[in-house]
C-alpha cells in the first residue's frame, strides 16, 4: 500500500528528525509520496492531488502531535499514525539529545519504517467480518443520564463496563467479546478524528491497553475490560472514525477479543445501571 506521508519534521527534538528519516525511508523504498509539512501548511493546493489520491500516513515525533494537528487543520482524514517517541519507548530504544541523527537514530528510523510496511497488510485489510459478527445482539433498552444539556446513554443489559468508560459485550457462545467506548466518552471527546486499532493477535491483560480514540480535545487510551487475544478490529473506523460518535455501542465497536478468563474479569466489571451511577458522578465533577 502507498501512502501520502506527512512527517512533523520537527527541528527542536531528535524525535522530529526521526519522523523525517522514517518518512524519507518510506518514500525512497517506494511506499508513498512525501508531503512537506511546511509547504502544505503554506500552500495546501500543492499537495491536493497526492492527498486526494492516497491514504494519509502521519508521522509525529512527539506527543505534541504537530503533524496530526496540521492534518486535522487541513481537514484531511488520517488513515494511519506513527509516533516516533512512543515506538522508540516500546522498543526500548533511546533517541538521545542531539538534534542530528546518529547511527543509532538512523537505524531506529529504518526499523520503524519497516514496521509500517510490515503492519500495512494487517491494518490495511478489512476486518474479519465473519469473525466479528459472532452473534452480538444490538443494543436494546438504554438508561438515560441527563446532565446540563447532555444526555448520556447506557445499555441496561448485555454490556459490562469498567470505570474507565470502556464496555465489553460477550458473544452468544461466550468465547469472544467486543469492546468499545461508552456514549459518555464519545460525548466528552466530541468529534472523534482517529481510532488507533490494536494489533490483531496481541495478547491483552485486563486493564491493559487496547487501542485509543482521539479527538481535537484529547487522546484516550482504551483500558481493556477483559483479558484475551485480539482476533478482529473494526477497520471500518479507519475511514469513518465518527461512527464511534454515532453508534458507540454497535457499529462503533473497536476490537474483538478471544476471551481468556472472563469469569475472573467479571469481578472487576460493573453492569449498565452501576455504570450509569458512575457517569452521573463523573459528569457532576466535570461541571
Amino acid at each position: 500500500m502507498k501512502y501520502a506521508i506527512l512527517p512533523c519534521n520537527g527541528l527542536d527534538k531528535a524525535a522530529g528528525q526521526g519522523s523525517r528519516e522514517v518518512a524519507l525511508w518510506l518514500v525512497e523504498s517506494g511506499h508513498g509520496e512525501l508531503v512537506c509539512p511546511v509547504l502544505v501548511n503554506n500552500s495546501p493546493d500543492r499537495y491536493a492531488p497526492v492527498l486526494g489520491e492516497l491514504p494519509l500516513l502521519v508521522i509525529d515525533g512527539c506527543a505534541t502531535q504537530c503533524a496530526t494537528k496540521l492534518a486535522n487543520r487541513l481537514g484531511r482524514k488520517i488513515a494511519r499514525k506513527l509516533q516516533v517517541t512512543e515506538e522508540a519507548k516500546r522498543m526500548g530504544a533511546t533517541l538521545g539529545k542531539s538534534l542530528r541523527m546518529g547511527q543509532d537514530g538512523l537505524a531506529l528510523a529504518s526499523t520503524l519504517a519497516a514496521l509500517v510496511v510490515e503492519q500495512t497488510d494487517v491494518v490495511g485489510r478489512p476486518s474479519s467480518e465473519e469473525v466479528a459478527q459472532a452473534d452480538y445482539v444490538h443494543v436494546q433498552e438504554q438508561i438515560e443520564v441527563a446532565h446540563d444539556k447532555f444526555l448520556f446513554k447506557v445499555p441496561v443489559s448485555g454490556y459490562l463496563f469498567n470505570e474507565n468508560d470502556v464496555w465489553v459485550q460477550v458473544s452468544a457462545d461466550g468465547r469472544r467479546a467486543r469492546i468499545g467506548v461508552s456514549d459518555f466518552v464519545q460525548q466528552q471527546l466530541t468529534d472523534i478524528s482517529f481510532v488507533g486499532l490494536p494489533t490483531i493477535g496481541a495478547e491483552v491483560e485486563q486493564f491493559g491497553d487496547v487501542g485509543y480514540v482521539e479527538s481535537a480535545k484529547a487522546t484516550l487510551e482504551l483500558v481493556s475490560p477483559v483479558s484475551g487475544r485480539v482476533v478482529a478490529v473494526n477497520s471500518a473506523l479507519v475511514d469513518a472514525p465518527e461512527t464511534v460518535n454515532a453508534e458507540p455501542y454497535d457499529k462503533g465497536w473497536v476490537a474483538e477479543l478471544e476471551l481468556k478468563d472472563v469469569a475472573a474479569d467479571r469481578d472487576l466489571l460493573i453492569d449498565g445501571p452501576a455504570y450509569a451511577s458512575v457517569i452521573e458522578k463523573k459528569a457532576s465533577e466535570y461541571s
Partner: protein
C-alpha cells in the same frame, strides 16, 4: 468509607498518579491545560513551576496528560502492579469481619 473510590477501593489507597521528570519538563503546561481534574498546580515563583499537587484526583489508569507531553516528561506506574494492588485491597476488604 471514602467517598472517592475506584472499583470499590478508596482512591487514596491506589497509588496511580503522574510523576514529572524535571530533567525533561519544559513547563509548556500542556498537561495542566488538559487535565480537567486539577491534578497539577502551577508554582510560578518556585524553581519547579509545576507540581503534582492533587495525586488522588487523578483518574486511575488514565494517562491522557502524558499524551499531551512533547518532552515525554510524564510517567505513570506499571498497570499490572496497580491491578494487583486493587485486587489485594478488595480481597482484604471482603475478608474483614
Amino acid at each position: 468509607m471514602s467517598e472517592n473510590t475506584f472499583m470499590g477501593v478508596p482512591r487514596e489507597k491506589v497509588s496511580w498518579f503522574p510523576t514529572i521528570d524535571y530533567q525533561k519538563c519544559n513547563y509548556c503546561m500542556e498537561c495542566d491545560k488538559f487535565c480537567p481534574h486539577h491534578v497539577f498546580e502551577r508554582r510560578e515563583a518556585e524553581e519547579r513551576k509545576l507540581v503534582v499537587a492533587n495525586p488522588n484526583n487523578c483518574v486511575v489508569f488514565c494517562r491522557a496528560c502524558a499524551k499531551t507531553c512533547g518532552p515525554d516528561a510524564i510517567s505513570f506506574p506499571e498497570k499490572p502492579a496497580i491491578v494487583a494492588m486493587i485486587k489485594r485491597i478488595r480481597e482484604e476488604g471482603q475478608a474483614a469481619p
